[in-house]
Amino acid sequence: MNLTIDVVEEKDYCVVKLHGEIDVYTAPKLKKEILPLTEQKGNKVKIDLEHINYLDSTGLGVFISAYKSTKENDGELKLIHVRDRVLRLFKVTGLHEIMAVDEKDRGE
């Protein structure tokens, strides 16, 4: 029921590794961690969802605001290692057409 967030920051990109569940309880913490990263000019933010076993619209909302923020700051946002179930929610809501949602990218 909890979420752990590990951020690896490099010079011009960073990887955010998430473990656990993203819901109304954990989403505020996630937003607080991710938004500052997206506000750095030109930053490339990769969010690794490999170990996310639950996500709902509160999580989608956080990723949308992160996406908007990167766009405004000439950065990039990419969701990587997205599992079937989670991917399904991006597809149903049409968000996979807008954001970079990558289920296969297992490299850098």
Binding site: M1, V24, Y25, I64, E72, L89, V92, G94, I98
Partner: protein
């Protein structure tokens, strides 16, 4: 009358208890023999309805309660999420919920909405959804064990 088991859970309308409700529905649904996929759908749909209670029902009050009812039938699970908080006008919110579209995004990224997916997801993931918001809000959703039993008409039905 059709025989069924009724299960009730009442929790404070707080974010920290939504995960507990999710455990409840996954236990009941797995006991009933729902598939892994269907259990995930139920967890999301229930969480969306519960999140709305936490986020919207008691905006002008200090605290409130969330009541969850499960109807366990031979062939389906009914999940009822209700609050005694504020109601809403279904016609009014209708045009700010639903999936996003690429054209919407192209218009203006900064105006892209960050919410409005909850009721839409409930409707997409469950077989039948009814909303009653005469007094507080009641979301009644049904999922069938055997997916072939699903009604053709799976639109949100607003009862006002």
């Amino acid at each position: 009358m059709e025989d069924f088991d009724f299960i009730e859970m009442k929790v404070p309308a707080k974010a920290e208890y939504v995960g507990v409700l999710r455990l409840g529905v996954s236990g009941i649904a797995s006991r009933m023999g729902f598939s892994y996929e269907a259990i995930e759908d139920l967890k999301v749909a229930l969480s969306e309805a519960a999140t709305n209670v936490v986020a919207h029902a008691y905006e002008n009050k200090e605290k409130g309660e969330l009541t969850l009812g499960f109807g366990v039938y031979e062939n389906r699970l009914e999940v009822m999420v209700s609050d005694q908080g504020e109601s809403f006008n279904f016609e009014e919110i209708k045009n700010r919920i639903g999936p996003v579209t690429y054209s919407e995004d192209l218009k203006s990224v900064s105006q892209m909405r960050e919410g409005g997916f909850g009721l839409f997801l409930i409707n997409a993931l469950m077989d039948k959804v009814e909303i009653n918001n005469e007094y507080g809000v009641i979301v009644l959703m049904t999922k069938y064990l055997d997916e072939t039993e699903v009604d053709v008409n799976d639109q949100v039905q607003a009862k006002q």
